[in-house]
Amino acid sequence: MKLAVPHIGNLNIMLGAIGRLIGPEFVFPPKTSQRTLFLGIKYSPSSTCLPFKFILGNFIEALERGADTIAMISDHGPCRVGMYDVVMQQILKDIGFNFTWISMDDTRLWSHYVQRFNKERKKWGVSLLKTLRALHLGWRKLRICEKIERLAHRVRPLEIERGETTRVELQCFRLIDEAENLKQLQKAWDESVHLFDRIKKDFNRRPIKVLVTGESYMVINPHANQEIERKLGEMGVEVTRTVWITQKISHAIGLDLFHPRSKRSAIKASKPYLKYNLGGECNSSIGYPILYKKDGYEAAIQLLPLGCMLEAVARNILVKVSREYDIPILTFSLDENLSETMVMTRLSAFVDLLERRRDRGNVSNTPTRFHL
């Protein structure tokens, strides 16, 4: 079995680690590029959302590389991801690929997947202990990748030479991907911290803090959101995002009860505006700006793929949130036709707006201090 999964954040680092230790063999599509998008656009119905096009492109490139099985999540909620499953299978078959399709939907119980995985494990002849160890290593790797991303978000606005943080970040991901056990992983983390420490920084700057919220695929993936985090960082803005893969996993299995910035608490914060939980990222997109306002975040940027129904609901409610909580909110409705110039113009206008707001003294501007 040669299993392919779409690129979602740093998921490939986690799955690669598990795959190398216990299997199955993963065939990752090449890094999402312009070609991926072109392939996706060519074979998708034109009105589907951007994530569909990217993921389909990923699958085509993975099948070209020799994958024979595809794992894809599915949904039964109000989001279009529910139809991804069926439509993609049909499109790929029409192109002429042969593959097995594993659909992971949330109508079945977790125990079903655990049982199924257990059966596979016995077939491979891998002991339970080894399996748990591999899962642990994969999880740790994912956690550390996210830690590095958070670090990069904080360091980038302070960097003196443009692009240095991004280079270091990529180097760190490589180090983590190469680690084979927990000990090496610890070493890779230490090395990463050291590398970040060595970046020349200007500590006199006082970066504006902006929250990136919205639909999960668009928020997690830099290739989908035109690298909005990097662009903002290089304009001198400290960014954080609301969607992380670990957070999504822990939310799905209910392990985020006590986390202060969990999706659960964001949904709760959105209650005054939207009583019914619509699913997807809709409620948390509304709730997170309210939560992060208390942490000193001055503004939020909402990302949605063009035509996303859930986020369109959130978008209109956010107008009210913006007014009541005094948080400027900028919304980007992204599709393949949105030009980079336009994104840059709006981002820089938004940053100007925030800077002038700060000069007026609407916001407390204490210098950020942090140590690695």
Binding site: E164, D335, T345, R346, L353
Partner: protein, 330 residues
């Protein structure tokens, strides 16, 4: 004599948009000394060079340029060409200019050649803005095109609209549909005045439904950009919003004035990087290529002056952009 002549401090603003290139020079108090409006014709470098030549000719005696700001979609290119001190996006530039002329302003409507924006200002501070996304319906280029088709000079477009007594209803959501709707109405025998007035109303409705959606439009409202010359659109806005719409004297060069004001703000005792009006004579061109060093495949633009590359941009990693700093000095 030489000393007395160099007494007035001037600040130059250049706004290079899709359709027009505007230049303005202001003095220390923010008064406009002279301005120029010319068409870009798809060649921003040539347009800027021509504009510089023209503005130099009309500049009052004894003005020294102490700061330069560029804005508009070709701001980066122009900034490198002329040696700008400030390179700013057009939204900020327009807002600054309107606040300068009307400190009380609370809403700015701006319709240019290819884009339209709305800027919400409260207490002299930009609090929100909106911009058209993928559709250029209702911007200057579309009006131009229709004027050409109807054989009406674009300057007279507004007058025709004002003469109408019962504007026809036209679908303004999309330029293609608007055009076929207009043809349909014209073949039905509707009067040209009514069609033009209907088009103005349709464009205003489209603007208010798309760009200004969810924004609080409060007076005083300022209408600027090239399309503000069109009386028909202005009247349609007034009818739709039920408020008076102000059109500033320099409505067509507000972006350039904003850039000049930003330059003035920044150049407090700092030496300008302006390369002088001689820039209009130099030979320069741009070359773009795709960098294949990684999977990003960035489109890098190389700026060549007198056969020497002086600057690069467009790369995500900053390799080209920063490499030049070590290599050749501009």
């Amino acid at each position: 004599m030489e000393k007395r002549r160099r007494q007035i401090k001037g600040y130059l603003g250049i706004d290079v948009g899709s359709v027009s290139t505007d230049l303005a020079v202001i003095d220390q108090e923010g008064k406009v000394l002279c301005h120029q409006y010319l068409l870009t014709h798809g060649q921003p470098i040539l347009a800027v060079q021509r504009g510089l030549k023209e503005i130099q000719a009309c500049l009052p005696e004894g003005v020294e340029i102490c700061g330069v700001g560029t804005t508009g979609s070709a701001r980066q290119l122009t900034g490198i060409l002329v040696g700008a001190d400030v390179v700013k996006n057009e939204i900020t530039a327009h807002a600054i200019a309107s606040i300068h002329f009307y400190p009380e302003v609370r809403t700015v409507l701006e319709i240019g050649g290819q884009d339209s924006k709305i800027i919400i200002i409260r207490d002299g501070l930009v609090v929100d803005f909106g911009m058209n996304t993928v559709c250029a319906a209702g911007t200057g280029s579309f009006l131009d095109q229709q004027a050409l088709r109807l054989n009406v000079p674009i300057e007279a477009f507004g007058e025709y609209a004002l003469r109408s007594e019962s504007p026809v209803r036209i679908a303004g959501r999309c330029t293609v549909f608007a055009e076929s709707d207009m043809i349909h109405k014209q073949q039905m025998g509707c009067h040209l005045n009514d069609i033009i007035a209907g088009l103005c109303e349709a464009l205003v409705r489209n603007y208010l439904n798309n760009v200004a959606k969810g924004k609080e439009i409060r007076s005083p409202i300022i209408f600027q950009g090239g399309v503000a010359a069109n009386q028909g659109i202005r009247k349609a806005f007034e009818r739709e919003l039920g408020e008076e719409i102000l059109v500033p004297k320099y409505y067509h060069v507000m972006g350039a004035i904003g850039a000049a004001l930003l330059a003035k703000e920044k150049m407090d005792g700092v030496e300008t990087q302006f390369k002088g009006f001689g820039v209009s004579e130099i030979k320069c061109r741009t070359v773009n290529f795709i960098c294949k060093d990684c999977e990003n495949h960035c489109e890098v633009v190389e700026f060549i002056v007198e056969e020497k590359p002086i600057s690069y941009w467009g790369d995500r990693c900053g390799k080209w952009e920063s490499g030049i700093k070590k290599g050749i000095s501009p």
